[in-house]
């Protein structure tokens, strides 16, 4: 145990704005990022007796701030005020930015990493230090802590139910999902922060656990860079974010520690390494997004896609399509702003479609990118201001899969009774039956499909070959800096084929246990 334990302050959530300009904080372990990876690591390491300090760029918002309003909560809780996108603006990216990270705004869908994914990583990416067998007990523990349980069919809203019914009618495998909720009121506002703390996000679980064991969580603190001296990371240079929640205040702080864990996510973690002069090699390479295209189906009776648990049904019927890119299908909640963004066209046409919002069912096809050798994903770089940029030209084969996925979702909705299904911006496909669907999608230019993403994975891949990875798999330690680890979704060598949160929780739980054990000796 280090001397810092003797100086251990009581745990607390601290707003960086309350710190003095030029302040220097000290800890055993600094964790950069408070989302799925950072929060679980903080809790585990604090429980093991380490003095843990978590730095988070976003604000510390709690249920009283979650107003169930898109105009208030998207700017408050999402990266770039909800307007993050790839460099060519071809993919809009919804990613959280708050104490608790994306777990504060995700739609609660919880899957363990499929076993074949780790098998692929072992054979194709030299990931020898982690297996699903090793992860099993850690997932068990995470599922207990976060109350992850399968939804019963009668708990689903109609938006999800039509996906279920349509899949069943077509003979496609479909199941209700597992969700990390306790006392869920099914209001439908998971994406704007849970107003009743039913969602078992990091904000109300592992972060308070960490604080109860002495960890400090410093919000509104943007890490500018890691400072390396003598072959080790010595400290973190950080800027305090101002009152608007985004721009820097001018105040700067320094954090010194013996060990550093990057957990800033698939975009933030590589960006910090690059800003620190630690880029190159595989840093900021192989970023995957589960690129998404959605469909809008209209029904005669109200669907009310804005109420009820947002995601409670998923189909992985097309996750394995042989050499073709795999897909999975889920529902998407639609409040007016998201619906406006997802609805193509402008002027009267757009407004006319918007007026049918209560009758709209919205579903998404998510492409499982990164498994074919030709799929190299996106790259992360930083602009002059230090802001990250993701450059991802989604390949043709992924786009072709998404057209197949959109057509499948259209068929599912027809089978469930939809009167009309639409997708694409221009050409906009609007079909009333399968015959029209086939005619309208013949020779469709898939490069013009507008895409979005809510899952950022990769960018600092793990592996046991230093030439093709950034961190080694057994403890996610940087290949050359012995006191630097990366514990977040950026270490995944490919996408996952499932919503990522539980994959990150389980891996962080396992790795932080290993780290605690190694560091105590």
């Amino acid at each position: 145990m280090s001397q810092a334990i003797a100086l251990h302050k009581p745990g607390a959530f601290v707003d960086a704005g309350t710190l003095a300009d030029g302040a220097t904080l000290k800890a055993d372990v600094v964790i950069i990022g408070s989302g799925a990876g950072g929060a679980v690591s903080a809790s585990q390491l604090a429980s093991a007796g380490f003095d843990v300090l978590v730095l988070e760029e976003g604000g510390h918002h709690t249920r009283a701030d979650f107003k169930m309003r898109e105009d208030i909560n998207y700017p408050m809780l999402y990266q770039e005020a909800g307007a993050r996108a790839t460099k060519d603006v071809g993919v809009t990216i919804l990613q959280g930015r708050a104490v608790g990270g994306t777990t504060v705004v995700n739609w609660t869908t919880s899957f363990r990493t499929p076993a074949h994914v780790y098998e692929h990583w072992r054979s194709a990416h030299a990931v020898g230090g982690v297996t699903v067998e090793q992860l099993g007990p850690h997932w068990d523990e995470v599922e207990r802590r976060l109350n992850i349980q399968q939804v019963s069919l009668d708990e689903t809203n109609r938006n999800n139910r039509v996906l279920y019914d349509g899949c069943k009618a077509l003979g496609l495998a479909v199941e209700t999902t597992r969700r990390n909720v306790k006392g869920c009121m099914k209001s439908g506002y998971c994406g704007m922060g849970c107003p009743v703390d039913a969602k078992q996000s990091m904000l109300v679980t592992y972060l308070p656990d960490a604080v109860a064991r002495g960890a400090r969580v410093v919000s509104r603190c943007r890490v500018d860079k890691l400072v390396v001296e003598g072959g080790a990371v010595k400290r973190v240079a950080a800027s305090v974010i101002g009152d608007d929640g985004y721009n820097v205040s001018g105040k700067q702080i320094t954090v010194e520690a013996r060990r550093f864990i990057l957990a800033a996510g698939g975009i933030g973690t590589p960006a910090i390494l690059i800003r620190s002069g630690l880029g190159g090699g595989m840093v900021g390479r192989r970023t995957f997004l589960h690129p998404v295209h959605g469909t809008a189906a209209h029904y005669k009776d109200p669907v009310e896609p804005y109420y009820g648990a947002p995601q409670s049904v998923a189909s992985h019927a097309h996750a394995d399509r042989g050499d073709e890119v795999g897909l999975f299908y889920e529902a998407a909640p639609m409040h007016p702003m998201l619906a406006a963004v997802a609805t193509p066209g402008y002027g009267a046409m757009h407004h006319g479609a918007m007026q049918r919002l209560p009758y709209l069912a919205a579903h998404v096809a998510l492409a499982i990118d990164g498994f074919h050798p030709s799929e190299e994903g996106g790259t992360i770089s930083v602009r002059e201001s230090g802001a990250p940029v993701i450059d991802y030209v989604v390949p043709l084969r992924v786009r072709k899969a998404l057209l197949f996925g959109a057509k499948t979702l259209a068929r599912i909705n027809f089978a469930a009774g939809a009167t009309e299904v639409g997708f694409g911006e221009f050409p906009h496909v609007l079909a009333r039956n399968e015959k029209e669907l086939d005619r309208l999608t013949e020779n469709y230019d898939v490069m013009k499909l507008p895409l979005f993403s809510a899952h950022v994975m990769g960018g600092c891949k793990m592996g046991d070959d230093p030439k093709s990875s950034v961190v080694r798999s057994t403890d996610l330690r940087h290949h050359t800096l012995e006191n630097l680890h990366v514990v977040d979704g950026s270490v995944f060598p490919t996408s996952l084929g499932v919503n990522p949160q539980e994959s990150i929780y389980g891996l962080a739980h396992l790795i932080s246990e290993r780290l605690a054990s190694a560091w105590k000796t």
């Binding site: 307007a83 109420y307 963004v341 402008y346 407004h351 209560p358 201001s385 911006e425």
Partner: protein, 171 residues
């Protein structure tokens, strides 16, 4: 489109952005009749006038307020990276630019001087363009303007959205 094609289009797009913000017919003054109601945080009054003109065509709701929409986007841009603000300004000038419009669409007037129907035609050209930068630019302008309108409670009743439920917050 393969990567090489994309790069070519990307370069062409970069050239267009440069044209949009510098040369020739770009000097035709913007119609600034759509003025801000309060101080601007991220864009200037010329950008604001173009943005409000775009909002007036993009958002079809009868009660939409293009000036307010432009203010909301200005506030959102103030939270973004400075490079993103600069890119957005260039995008607006490219749309406004008469020279690029003349070359690509056969229109010789800035966007803000066109009739509403002619402005709709320009948006249609951008929506359907084979140039990635125009399609992407259209997407950015469409999503930002429509999101800024429909996110606010004033827009909800028009689209049949009852608003969030009353939830008893546990103590």
């Amino acid at each position: 489109m393969n990567r090489r094609t994309f790069i070519r289009r990307g370069l062409w797009g970069g050239l267009l952005l440069a044209v949009g913000s510098s040369i020739g017919l770009a000097s035709w003054p913007t119609d600034r009749s759509r003025k801000p109601r309060r101080g601007l945080r991220a864009i200037d009054e010329r950008h604001f006038a173009i943005l409000a003109a775009v909002a007036a065509r993009m958002v079809g709701a009868p009660k939409a307020d293009p000036i307010e929409i432009a203010h909301r986007i200005d506030a959102q841009l103030a939270l973004g990276a400075p490079e993103a603000r600069a890119d957005f300004g260039k995008l607006l000038l490219l749309l406004e630019n008469a020279l690029a419009g003349l070359v690509l669409d056969g229109r010789a007037r800035p966007f803000t001087h066109l009739s509403p129907a002619a402005q709709d035609d320009v948006l249609a050209h951008w929506q359907r363009s084979s140039l990635l930068i125009r399609r992407s630019g259209y997407g950015v302008l469409r999503k930002l303007t429509q999101a800024a309108h429909y996110a606010a409670p004033e827009a909800w009743a028009d689209v049949g959205y009852p608003g969030p439920p009353q939830i008893g917050i546990p103590s």
